[in-house]
C-alpha cells in the first residue's frame, strides 16, 4: 500500500474548506516532504488550524465543516476514501494540540493507551518498552521515571506537552501534526520541544502551526504562509526569512500589517 518512492509523506491539492457558507481554505495545494519539518504561518483566522485538521480528518466531527480536495498519504493513499478508517488514519497521522491535554490518568497510562487500543504491543514487556522509549524520545523519561504511576495532570505545562508528544509517538505515526505546541510554554520548555522536533524529524514528518516567526525559522526547513484562506507563498524556510518572493509575505514576517 505504501509507495516507498514518494518523496512526500503527504500531498494535497485543490483543497477547499467551508464552515457553512463561509470559506476558510481556498484552493490550496501543498506537499509535505518526508522527514522534514514544515511550518504553517499566517495571521490569526487565516485557516492554518483548519488546514492542519484536514490532514487527519479532525474536521469530520464539525458538522458545518465541508472539506473538498485531494489528500494523498505516501503518494497513493487517499485519506478521505470511504475505505479508510479514521482510527487507522490517526495511527499514521498523530496530533499534538496547543494546550497540553493529558488524560486524567497516570503518566504510564497516558502513553500506553494508544499502543494498547491499536494493538501495537503484544506483551506487557513490550508495552513497557514502548512507553519508556516514547518518553525517552520526548525528552521526558528522566524527569518522570520514578513517578510513572502519578496522575499526569500533576505535571508542569511543559512536561504535559512533552507527555502529549510521547503519547503521539507511542503509536508510531508517520506524520505528527502540531498546532501551536509551545504557545503555553516558557522559553526553556519551548527550547526542549524545539530540540525534540529536530530529533523527531529523523523518523517522522512534522507539520507545525506556529505564531512565532523565530520558532518557524528555527525548527522548519519548509514554510508555508497563509492569508485569508489562501496559500500565499511556500518555500525553503531560509529563503522565506531572507528574501520571500511576495511582498505580502515580507510584510507579515517583518511585522508590517494592514
Amino acid at each position: 500500500m505504501v509507495d516507498q518512492n514518494s518523496n512526500y509523506a503527504l500531498q494535497t491539492s485543490e483543497v477547499y474548506v467551508h464552515y457553512g457558507k463561509k470559506m476558510a481554505i481556498n484552493n490550496v495545494a501543498l506537499n509535505f516532504p518526508k522527514n522534514e519539518v514544515t511550518s504553517l504561518i499566517g495571521p490569526s483566522g487565516c485557516g492554518k488550524s483548519t488546514f492542519l485538521r484536514c490532514l487527519n480528518r479532525m474536521n469530520d466531527v464539525i458538522d458545518i465543516c465541508n472539506v473538498k480536495g485531494k489528500f494523498l498519504l505516501n503518494g497513493n493513499v487517499d485519506i478521505y476514501s470511504p475505505d479508510i478508517q479514521v482510527e487507522t488514519l490517526r495511527e499514521k497521522v498523530g496530533m499534538v494540540f496547543q494546550k497540553p491535554n493529558p488524560f486524567p490518568k497516570t503518566i504510564y497510562e497516558n502513553v500506553a493507551y494508544g499502543p494498547k487500543i491499536h494493538g501495537i504491543a503484544s506483551s506487557q514487556n513490550e508495552l513497557d518498552e514502548i512507553v519508556k522509549d516514547s518518553l525517552h524520545r520526548a525528552g521526558l523519561y528522566e524527569e518522570v521515571k520514578d513517578r510513572m504511576e502519578d496522575i499526569a495532570t500533576g505535571l508542569s505545562g511543559g512536561q504535559q506537552q512533552r507527555l502529549c508528544i510521547a503519547r503521539a509517538i507511542a503509536i508510531r505515526p508517520e506524520i505528527i501534526l502540531m498546532d501551536e505546541p509551545c504557545s503555553a510554554l516558557d522559553p526553556i520548555a519551548t527550547a526542549k520541544i524545539e530540540d525534540l522536533i529536530n530529533e523527531l524529524k529523523e523518523n517522522y514528518t512534522i507539520i507545525i502551526v506556529t505564531h512565532s516567526m523565530s520558532q518557524a525559522s528555527r525548527v522548519s526547513s519548509k514554510t508555508a504562509f497563509f492569508h485569508l484562506g489562501n496559500l500565499v507563498e511556500y518555500g525553503e524556510t531560509g529563503k522565506i526569512f531572507t528574501k520571500p518572493d511576495k511582498e505580502q509575505t515580507n510584510d507579515y514576517i517583518t511585522g508590517r500589517f494592514g
Binding site: T242, K243, E247, T254
Partner: protein, 227 residues
Amino acid sequence: METAHTDKNFEQKLNHLTDNLIKMSNIVEKQIEIAVNVIKSKDSSDAQTTQNLDEQVDEVERDVRDLSFEIMTLHRPVASDLRLVFTALKVSKELERMGDHSRNLAKRAISISSSFDEDLTDQMHNLGKGVQKMVNQTLESFFKKDEVQARISWNQDAEIDRQYKSLLSDLIERMHNKQTSVVDEGTKPILIAKSLERIGDHATNIAEEVIFNITGHYIDLKKSDFE
C-alpha cells in the same frame, strides 16, 4: 518603501539606521571629492579637512554598528529588515575604509613636489575623478534600490583597474628612464594610485551589497583582487 511597521519603535530605529548611512555616504563622498582635488591643488588645508571628516566617519560607523547590534538583539529582524541591517553593517565598513584611503591619499598628495610630472598628475587626477563618479553612482543605487545601476557601477571597476595599471606602467617606465622628478617621489604616486584603485574596489563591494539587499543573492562573478 514598504508598508509601515506595526512596531513604531522598531520602525524608527530602521529609519535611523538608513539616515546614518546617508549621512556617512555624504561625508565620504565629500572626502573623496576633496582628496581627488588635492592631487592637483596640493592644498594642505583641504588635506586636513579630509582628516577631520575621517573622524566624523568613524563616529557614524560606530553608531551604525551599535544601532545594528541593538536592532538584532531587541527586534530580531527578518527578511527585508534583516537584509537592511546586514547591508548597513557591511556598507558602513566599506565606507569607513574608503574614508581612510581618501585621507591617506590627500596627505601623500600634498607631500609631492610641485615639479612632479604633469602628465602623471593628470592621470592620477583622472583616475580619481573616475573613482569618484563610480562611488557616487554606487551609493545612489543603494539609496534608490536600483539594481540595474548597481550592476553598471559594479562593471565600472574593470575600467578603473585598467586606468590604474596603465598609470603604473607609465610611472615605472619613467623611473626606468631615470626621470628625476618621478624618481624623487619614490613610492608616493604609486601609493596614491593604489589608494584610488582600492576605493574603487570598496565601491564594487558596496555594489555587491546593494544587489544582495535587493535580490537576496550575491553577484556570482568574482574579479581578481590586486591586493
